[in-house]
Symmetry: C2
Subunit: 341 residues, 2 copies
Amino acid sequence: MTQATNDQFLLAARPVGLPKESDWQRAAPALPDLNEGDVRVKLLYLSLDPAMRGWMNEGKSYVRPVAIGEVMRAGGIGIVEESKSPKFAAGDTVMGVMGVQRYWSGPADDRGAMLAKVDPALAPLPTWLNALGMPGMTAYFGLLDVGQPKPGETVVVSGAAGAVGMTVGQVARNMGCRVVGIAGGADKCRFVVEELGFDACIDYKAGPVNAALKEHCPQGVDVYFDNVGGEILDAVLTRINMKARIVICGAISQYNATGAVKGPSNYMSLLVNRARMEGMLVTDYAARYPEGVASIARWMKEGSFKAKEHVVEGFENFPSALNMLFEGKNLGKLVLKVADA
Amino acid sequence: MTQATNDQFLLAARPVGLPKESDWQRAAPALPDLNEGDVRVKLLYLSLDPAMRGWMNEGKSYVRPVAIGEVMRAGGIGIVEESKSPKFAAGDTVMGVMGVQRYWSGPADDRGAMLAKVDPALAPLPTWLNALGMPGMTAYFGLLDVGQPKPGETVVVSGAAGAVGMTVGQVARNMGCRVVGIAGGADKCRFVVEELGFDACIDYKAGPVNAALKEHCPQGVDVYFDNVGGEILDAVLTRINMKARIVICGAISQYNATGAVKGPSNYMSLLVNRARMEGMLVTDYAARYPEGVASIARWMKEGSFKAKEHVVEGFENFPSALNMLFEGKNLGKLVLKVADA
């Protein structure tokens, strides 16, 4: 069943601002033979995430940058097609950091790929890249461990119609919090309120966020889960309560900045309100993923949690699909469908 | 002994940038007769603090702004000259928020003044406005409660030769930390290293702070106690360790900004390092001041803590003395001597 060659997107150049077509290069190397302990995975879905933009930049961060000429890093899910490892059998569904390519081959215990078997009966495959995967775990542990919401508190989340934001809002609502989303556009706002049960959603494109926060958070903001940075972070800082917690999860508004990043001018509100701003990374919680997956899967089964994916078809559309994240074009977790099972 | 009139500095106008002479107005109202429960205090020393600049601005903050035409708010220490309250007797030494004037009169339990008796035998009066007063308590509780330094960690403090910074550094050193100060000018740096026992001090006027941090904090920065904000906060953010704690105590570099405050552009370092930035206000720790005073007084007695005040003589010099804080002209806690006992 295996075709003789792979199909890959390599990073050709470090982007300035929004990635463009010429920052990518296609490659079609022959598929390698497997060594003892190796597996070959046929990728079915790739996860497209805002963090990928950071991996394309040079400079020290929490993971090493993707090298020029290297296969672009991405999470994905697929089927084991061939295995010379006792860890996985042909036909197993596995998730891991397998890159923007049609086939991943290597040692079953590869530390970069972090392959893990998943149960396809528990949820559709794209959901494993969403609520039951990295974005879901980011939301779950970032909100609960760093944000520490208490029932009755007001939780605000930006990027509310994105993969992380949708989960943050639903987990907070299930915790008994008032949940206010911030998203770009009426469709996204309607979706998170009507479909996901947020109490309100602020369309940042429709007017000043400050005034809308005042209206929708009459008791102030106790927890802010920030996926966007920039002006919105500054607006929320003017509305936080005493001892508020701001979870710094991302800053998508700044990822393609070609000048200096806009730091939060209103950060002295942290002093006035004895509040804190704290960064988090999902990989720190790897040992606790089973707890997060179990909670979210239970809520899904009970009907108090909905997963929503935005699936783009066609491996060849990877460059434009990735940019949808930065252009605010996705509603829900953005996933690229690579192949049928 | 009481002269018939008071002598006061009123806020005449809200300053734009650095306060100027015309932002102040002198007044000399008659001293009021005391009612039952009142005391009159003759002020001997006034505390000059960076926070006073914030109190002069309009807008909601942690305390209400000083009104135009109102006596400027300031902490001070003095002697009870007359008392119609059982709480204090004539001759008692009291500390409190008594304003920029020669005499304070009012109810002994006034909630704004927060008068408290102090033991003049424990330390010289200016030290009660310094290490045993608000700046000392700010440093003690901000460092220990919010910064949570552990022995062997590296603690960096800006405004190192100021009232708060000096205490932060000495408390951290007594905790077994490596202590690196940041201050403006060779004299200040020499003072905190040679006199106060800091391990190193970076003169931010002498060269790039980034490179100096790299040199003096070879193990990175675990706790940063920030009194200054601006470029220095951004520089430290590039050198923090995993799980670092940044205590936001002040931002003196920004207090006279006439444009937007410079937010920390490098705040995403909080995410990369899973670090936090948290604001604090000393008044939250009022119930625990006796603990802080006892610890610092014990260290002073043991010789492992030095208090240093910069005393400016003459009540009439208040406007220029206050500005010394923003011009970096004080070495140690800035105190204005109002009168002899």
